[in-house]
Symmetry: C2
Subunit: 228 residues, 2 copies
């Protein structure tokens, strides 16, 4: 955890999944958190309900930002005509569940909101270990985004350095679950499945479900996930 900047406010990207719930728990130890969740043409709207509940648990304010779905078409996560694939450990490269420029867009809204709220710290739950081949989850991307953000904003120009925190970047899924478990995250309230139903129940078969299930096993923590 880097040194805390003079402002005690932080913006936390909160999807409602396991990773971002853990990030919120970590950030809440050091900052007054404002959580933001994104609404787009995603299949699992139950994630947004989970996010709201998690923000409340960690006494964070919560904001829902609408993303224009027209910009995000062409991915299995946003386009109903593309099937979500089952997990294939032999698959290489960037999967069809990749959403074009997703983390760039999410961080850019976080940056605007950080500037409005005079926050200098942004937390995002990207992970370089279980990153599923998404280019915008790599440390090199986050570093380049931070450099750009400090040139883009009034705060950066005035010398108040913006910091993008990625506390999960080098953790395995099991590490993440152990950390969150110790910090009181209720993982039963989180939704990771790419095609969760309205009740937040998971398919158990997609890439995200498989990584999550394995994480609980390896962490030695009982898996509270409800499967349909």
């Amino acid at each position: 955890m880097p040194a805390i900047s003079p402002s005690s406010k932080a913006i936390v990207l909160l999807s409602g999944g396991l990773d971002s719930a853990t990030v919120l728990a970590i950030a809440s130890q050091h900052f007054d958190c404002h959580a933001i969740s994104f609404s787009y043409a995603q299949r699992s709207l139950s994630e947004l309900n989970a996010a709201k509940k998690l923000a409340g648990h960690f006494s964070a304010s919560h904001q829902l930002v609408k993303i224009d779905a027209g910009a995000m078409e062409g991915s299995a996560l946003t386009d109903e005509s593309v099937d979500v694939p089952e997990f294939d450990p032999a698959e290489q490269g960037i999967p069809v569940t990749y959403v074009p420029a997703r983390n760039t867009l999410f961080l850019s809204y976080a940056l605007a909101i950080a500037e409005v709220r005079a926050a200098q710290d942004i937390f995002i739950g990207v992970n370089a270990v279980d990153y599923s081949g998404y280019p915008d989850c790599r440390p090199a991307f986050i570093h380049a985004y931070e450099v750009m953000a400090n040139l883009a904003t009034k705060a950066g120009v005035e010398g108040n350095k913006l910091c993008i925190h990625t506390p999960l970047i080098d953790m395995s899924k099991a590490d993440i679950i152990r950390t969150g478990n110790d910090l009181g995250v209720d993982y039963a309230a989180t939704v990771s499945c790419y095609q969760a139903n309205e009740q937040g129940e998971a398919c158990g078969r997609c890439d995200s479900c498989q990584l999550r299930r394995k994480g609980f096993e390896q962490a030695g923590v009982p898996d509270p996930t409800r499967y349909f």
Copy 2:
């Protein structure tokens, strides 16, 4: 103008103002253009009508992207409770018309759309001469954005370099007007005023109006702007 990449498609940020209209004219000489305009809680909606008309003139497809206004509050351009200031040549620093992280957000949508459309070229009408003190109009910002974009996207990872073009970056307002005039831009159809009315008529007093009026004088081109 850099060498044209193998893809002949380009994404052009088109506000409907004088600068972006000129950018579209320049880009159209070399690329099959897809223009995008942003709808947010901006005062001059007449700009969006201007953008649609300009795209049609240059045979570009046109897409309107809605920006969630909640992320953009706190600026004179998006917040009705903040007055648009009159031009003050003695004013230093970043003006109240600054919109938090605006170009970062706009470029991030352009990046997502470029990836969906397999375009590798994005055009934006930022200008380092008449930049009004906005940090996200500086060459250093654009360069950092381009570096980040190439790390963020599937195209960048696969070696198809994304390029952010800023053809106006070193031009004076007079240079821009002369260039666009030669390329057939109908400046009567463009709206630059921060508080234009529904008919696209300009106040003649704000920062943007003053820069535009002076540009036409210095270019020796008759000013077709309709003032209210």
